[in-house]
Symmetry: C2
Subunit: 133 residues, 2 copies
Amino acid sequence: MPSGALSIDHIGVVVRDLDAAAADWQRRFGAQVLGTESLDHLGIEVTYLGVEGQSMVQLLKPRHGPLADYLAEHGEGLHHICYAVEDIAEAAARLAGGAAVNIVRGGRGRLACFLPERVNNVIIELTEVRPSF
Amino acid sequence: MPSGALSIDHIGVVVRDLDAAAADWQRRFGAQVLGTESLDHLGIEVTYLGVEGQSMVQLLKPRHGPLADYLAEHGEGLHHICYAVEDIAEAAARLAGGAAVNIVRGGRGRLACFLPERVNNVIIELTEVRPSF
């Protein structure tokens, strides 16, 4: 059982055109681009939008792999909620209820994983907090 | 054009059983229940989970109306991102690009509206910030 509430690091939104989407979210919602990365080992490009220290929107363009399959099947839209955790190995073990979890080097150089089961059909990611944005 | 970035007030998640979902999110993620309301005029019940001053999860159980139709068609899951705005009439007019917007009394006694068009297939809500949670 967690002792405190986890905070929402970001909400993942799958998009087809990262540059166009980032420009659109900036224009509409005043969101600042906090960073853009190409994570080739995961087959994705991501752009973080928002305000430092607050929950961000992560625009996510899949190039290949499971997220490209997701985009092909479901189209653009809300994809996941990502909670910040201090110890991803501990949190993943606890939240996955013993199921295998694939912890990878995700955006911002952080360790990250998706939980193996959805919660109310919501895909949940965990990111280990580092002194980053 | 907004002068500053809007902050994310909450992420809306459509669920079938509000009490069970709230207990589950509390147990898993340590989220505190910040409030529960039955908004009869909108046909929904909502529970806000999270940490005061940070982006929250809004669990949303439709009883009737458009959100009940949404649940019947799509099932549970991520539904919308809600941005906090200071002046909802101004923000809605600007962000809806002149289209009609239905501003209602939403959760926490606040004025709220959904934008008429999705952004990258994401449903966007606006909530006018009041001294509330």
